[in-house]
């Protein structure tokens, strides 16, 4: 995985901000729906919203294929409002949790990448 500061910071920024954005968009859905329906619809809406907002990050920090952690983070964060209904009340908290999901997804991807490189090098 990338070690240069420009790309590291770019990856963190993309993961955190786009996952927070996905959570916020999913939080706009009606809270009256059944949780399972809201989770699925929220995930679809959140991921579409991320696709729409992704191009500036793509241009600055890399290609579609390196946006895998962003997609993972936003997939999880867009299900947050349905799973933790209390988060809807405070958009600041929802954004922070969304950003946290993005950074967690980056961490998971980083670890998977390290393991894969270790396997290949061995």
């Amino acid at each position: 995985m990338e070690k240069r500061a420009y790309f590291l910071i770019g990856d963190w920024l993309a993961c955190a901000s786009l996952s927070a954005w996905a959570a916020w968009v999913a939080g706009l859905l009606p809270s009256t729906w059944p949780m399972a329906v809201e989770m699925v619809v929220g995930m679809i809406v959140g991921m579409v919203a991320v696709m729409v907002a992704m191009p500036p990050f793509l241009v600055l920090f890399g290609a579609l294929e390196v946006m895998v952690p962003v997609m993972l983070g936003s997939m999880i964060s867009s299900m947050l409002p349905s799973m933790v209904p209390g988060l809807r009340q405070e958009s600041g908290t929802l954004l922070a949790w969304g950003a946290g999901c993005g950074l967690l997804a980056w961490g998971v991807t980083w670890m998977a990448d390290r393991l894969l490189h270790r396997e290949t090098d061995a």
């Binding site: 420009y6 770019g10 241009v59 920090f61 290609a63 895998v68 993972l72």
Partner: protein
Amino acid sequence: MTKKNASSRWDGTARFYDWLAFGAEKRWEPAKRALFGRMTPGKRILFAALGTGLDIPFFPPGQEMVAIDISAAMLARAAPRVAAYPGRIEARLMDITALEYPDGWFDQVFTSCTFCSVPDPMAGLASLRRVMKPGAELAMFEHTGSHYFPFNLLLNLCNPVCRHIGPEMNRDTVAHVIRAGFRVEAVNPVFLDVVKTIRAIKPI
């Protein structure tokens, strides 16, 4: 996607391509430099596909090669980089599935993010194999699908959208290379098992 569609899509993208690829080119520069460092003077080299020539600064100086692309607009944009290269690049408008070279012509073939976009990857690889000498080297920088969850799921999910606006995100290019009759020598991951370099040989 047909050959004509692919050509006109890349013609349409040519104007924005350098701008779109800004981050990706910077990010992949070290891996590409390492791969293209295998270019050997005196060998007959084919580079597919040249695009706007963004990879040319990563080529070692002093090489002589043929570089093809399916898009005339892309090649027109590549012209200044071709001219500035300290070596010789013959840039030609050509489809990878219909190479205008005799059997067994090239010693080395390089690709760079090519087989995510070739409409029929097996036909493209068969065509490359035909123009390569027995024992010739195929060196590829490609992005593919993943074999690992959840990355494979994400790439499969976004592929229906991505394939309409750009490349296919979930191709198994290594399997295609093997199926096309090459012997894979090395597969080195660059980012996960998604972005990778592949080195293969046309068996003697």
